[in-house]
């Protein structure tokens, strides 16, 4: 039955510790110091993941541009979502600004990434 959608397998056994084709790697640990100012507490992590974050945002922009080839949607995101950051409660507003500073990703696009889950509940 595994080869017929929905590809329902017999319950797996003995898969732990993780290995094999369904395991893509361990997740690295980072420390976030809440005693630091919100604007700088994500700096180390974002420095390390700057390339990956930029790549994800670019994929999202490409998808948006597939639907709106004029580039208007991303223009709206950059112009309209950035001021919205100031309406977020502390410390989230300052943290997003810090992430935009370090990553070089426009603030509106950082905001878009952070509200993705809300947007896709429809």
């Amino acid at each position: 039955a595994q080869f017929v959608p929905p590809y329902t397998e017999d319950c797996r056994r003995g898969t732990y510790p993780p290995s094999g084709p369904t395991f893509k790697g361990i997740v690295p640990w980072y420390k976030i110091n809440l005693d630091l100012a919100p604007r700088v507490r994500w700096n180390q992590l974002i420095n390390d993941k700057k390339v990956e974050l930029t790549s994800l945002i670019q994929v999202i922009k490409n998808l948006a541009n597939d639907f709106f080839p004029s580039g208007k949607l991303i223009e709206i995101v950059d112009k309209s979502l950035a001021p919205l950051v100031d309406t977020l409660p502390s410390p989230f507003n300052e943290e997003l600004k810090g992430i935009a500073d370090v990553s070089g990703v426009p603030l509106g696009e950082v905001m878009l990434f952070n509200i993705f889950y809300e947007v896709f509940t429809v």
């Binding site: 898969t15 809440l34 974050l53 490409n62 977020l88 997003l96 809300e118």
Partner: protein, 253 residues
């Protein structure tokens, strides 16, 4: 997503999740996978939030995302959030927010706020059930005492249902995918029944971090949207996360 809280015969509480995200957001023809999970995997990190050099809470997160979807306040409670789809969805909350109606809270910010500030299972449950939000959600909460585990089904304004562990009546686990428990899941997206079948086969006597990983590794509970699996056990402070893949044949969701 699939989240569950389970209690073993000794009263130990386990909490685990598969995070699935990125449906319909671009298909990579070459790799036969969704694009967003491919790009989210390298961004996945475990975070240890500290104050005065002491851990306040731990989380599995995406770099650049400041809200929380998965976390543990060591020794106190564990928490995951699953997406709940609704016509009265988050986009309405966002529009209200833009228009200046800002009495609700962003759902992943609420998760973080609870992890950061709530000091007991009861307090966390109360905040998750009663705080007005911008989008509907399922909150899956585990505590540190026998019987402390629940799924809170939230609309934007209220808790529609709180489904709790009830060991005396044989409910030794609660399991949530992305559908209200009183409704059948979409027939094309039924991860609930396969997951429950595997939990029932495992039995309460054999539940552990290892066997829960087995359940979350069984297709279609594991699917092409699955980015990571997190396993938590509150009494030992176990917090483990693994990046996942679902080679063919595998359901796209």
């Amino acid at each position: 997503c699939t989240s569950l809280v389970a209690e073993d015969n000794a009263g130990r509480l386990y909490h685990a999740r598969n995070l699935d995200f990125g449906l319909f957001l671009g298909w990579d023809v070459k790799n036969e996978s969704w694009k967003i999970p491919e790009y989210l995997r390298p961004l996945t990190v475990n975070l240890n939030f500290q104050r005065n050099n002491k851990t306040v809470f731990k989380s599995t997160n995406f770099a650049g995302y400041v809200g929380m979807l998965t976390g543990m306040r060591p020794g106190t409670f564990t928490l995951t959030m699953n997406e709940r789809f609704s016509i009265d969805g988050g986009y309405i909350g966002i529009i209200e927010w833009i228009l200046g109606k800002r009495d609700g809270i962003w759902m992943s910010f609420l998760t973080r706020s609870v992890l950061e500030n709530a000091t007991s299972y009861a307090q966390a449950k109360d905040q998750l059930a009663k705080t007005k939000m911008l989008a509907p959600a399922y909150y899956i909460l585990g505590g540190n005492q026998s019987g402390e585990g629940c799924v809170i089904t939230r609309s934007r304004t209220a808790a529609l249902d709180i489904w709790e562990l009830d060991i005396k009546h044989g409910i030794w686990y609660v399991l949530e995918t992305n559908y209200d428990r009183w409704k059948d899941p979409l027939f094309l997206d039924n991860r609930r029944i396969p997951a429950m079948k595997c939990m029932n086969q495992t039995t309460q006597a054999n539940i552990s971090v290892e066997t829960i990983y087995d359940v979350l590794s069984t297709k279609p509970v594991l699917n092409k949207l699955t980015t990571y699996t997190t396993l938590m056990e509150i009494s030992e402070g176990t917090f483990e996360s693994y990046l996942r893949d679902c080679p063919n044949p595998c359901m796209p969701w």
